[in-house]
Symmetry: C2
Subunit: 302 residues, 2 copies
Amino acid sequence: MSELLVVGSVAFDTLHNALGTHEKVIGGSATYASIAASFYAPVKLVGVVGTDFPDAMVQKLRERGVDTSGLEVAEGQTFHWEGKYTDDLTSRESLRTDLNVFADFDPKIPEAFRDAPYVMLGNIAPELQISVLDQIRQPKLVVADTMNFWIDGALDALKRLLKRVNVLVINEEEARQLSGKHHMIQVANALLEMGPSTVVIKQGEYGAWLFAGEDVFSAPAFLLEAQDPTGAGDTFAGGFLGYVAAKDSVDPKTLRSAVIHGSALASFCVEGIGPARLLEIDRAAIDQRVSAFRSLVDFAHA
Amino acid sequence: MSELLVVGSVAFDTLHNALGTHEKVIGGSATYASIAASFYAPVKLVGVVGTDFPDAMVQKLRERGVDTSGLEVAEGQTFHWEGKYTDDLTSRESLRTDLNVFADFDPKIPEAFRDAPYVMLGNIAPELQISVLDQIRQPKLVVADTMNFWIDGALDALKRLLKRVNVLVINEEEARQLSGKHHMIQVANALLEMGPSTVVIKQGEYGAWLFAGEDVFSAPAFLLEAQDPTGAGDTFAGGFLGYVAAKDSVDPKTLRSAVIHGSALASFCVEGIGPARLLEIDRAAIDQRVSAFRSLVDFAHA
C-alpha cells in the first residue's frame, strides 16, 4: 500500500433538488476525493477553507486516515457553490459561486507531502494543477480531473497540464468538447495524443470507458434511484486512485478494477445528499457493490 | 436446437450517409432478423415482396437455412424506405416511405409454421403482430419489436399486444416514451407491468439493458467506426432469438448470452452498408466478437 496526495477545493454547497433545499452541505472536489480514497490508502489533503469551516468535519477526515496538515485555514469564508438540479438529475444550473478564500488559493505542498507517489489533481484551474506538479518530486501516477469551464477559459494551460498527467478523468460531453470529435474511439485517441497514457471517460447513467494504452474497458452503470449527484465525479476519481495506491500498481488490470471501485463509490455517493452516504458505508459494503457490478455484466460464453 | 418464425417487413432501402447514396439496398425488419437468426437455428420467414424483388436474394436466404415458403410475392412493388443519416450516425430523417405491396400485408402463417416455438414479431403494426399470434398454436417465447410510430398512433393495440408478448425489445427513447418514465429502473418496471416478463432496452452507442424478471444484465457497447446503422435493431432481435432457439432455453443465463450474441451481430451489421457485412461473416467471427465483448467488461475482483 502506498499513500496519495489529493489537491482540490473544499467547500460548502447549497443544493436544490426534488427532495428540497439543502444548505451548508460539505462539498468540494478534494473533500469527496479524499473521503473516497480513504477507504483504500492513507490520504494527504491540500486545500483551503475559511474560519467558518467546522472543526468537526476536519476531525472526521482525520479519523479516516486523511492527513489534514496541508489544509490551510485562511481568514474569511469557505468557498460556496449553489446549484439547482432538474428533477431527473441529468442536468444542473449553477446559481451562485462565491470563491471566498478559494480566490487566492495557491497550493503549497508541505515538504512531507512532496514524495507522494500518487497524486490526484482535483478539478481546479489548470495553472494551479501545474503548480502542484512543480512541487512534487517523482510521482508514479498523476490523475487529473477537469471541466468545461477550463476547456473554455484556460485551454492553453490545460494542454500544458495534460502533457504531464498520466490519467485524465473527464466526462463524455467535456471529452467531446476537448477533443473536437464525436465518436468514442476518435475522442479517446485525440485525448491520448494530448499526453495522458490513460483516459477515463465518464458517461453518468451510461457507465464509463477506460482507455489505458491499447487496453479498452467498459464499466457498466449501476442502476439506482439517485438523490444527489454532487461530487460523484470527484468520488469516482478518489476511489480510482485510492485503489491504485492500495495495489501500488498501474498495470491495465489494476486500472480496470480501479474503475469499478471508483464507480462503486460514486454509486454510493449519489444515494445520499452531499457526502452523507459515503460517510456511512464501510469497505465491506464497497466490496459487496463491486460484486454486484460483476453480476451485472456476467455472461456465459458458450 | 429449435426453429423460429420471423414475421416482418422485407424492403428496398435508399440510404444517404457520409459515404454517399446507396440505392436498392435490401432491407426490412424480417430480412435483417432472419439473416441474424440463421447463424443459430432454422428460420421460417413470413413477409411480402413485390415482383421486383430479386430471386437471387431469396435464394441467398434459402441457402442460409431460411424457409421462404411464407414469403408472399404480390403484384406490384416492394416496400421502399428512403432515409438520410447525420454524419455522426446518431439520428436519421425519413425522406420517403412507399408501402407498395406492404400496404395490404395481412400475414398468413402457413400451416407448417404454426407450431413454431420461438416467434419474432418484427417492427410492424401491432394489429398485424396480434394477428400473427392468433395463428400460432403454443409458442414458447414471443419477442416483439416496436417503434415510436406505433406508440404515437396505435397505443391501444400495442398495449393489447404486450399482454401476449414474453420479450419486448425496444430502444431507450421509445422505452421512455411508452413508460412515461425517465429513470431506467422505473422505465423497466413500467414496461414489465404492461405484460412482458422480459424487457431489452437498447441504448445504441451505450449498449443495452436486459430485465428478465428479477435479473438485471448490462451489455456493453462495442466501439467501432460504424458505416450504416440501418437494421441494427432488427439484427439484434434476430440474433437474440436465434441464440435462444438454438439453446432451446429461456432461463436468465441464456437470455444474458443471447443479448451479447444479438449485440455482436448488430456490431457487424453497422460495419457495412445494409446487410452486406452480415452476409460476409461466419459463426467463428461471431464467437470471436463475443469473446471481445467479454474482454471489454472483464475485471479482477480482488
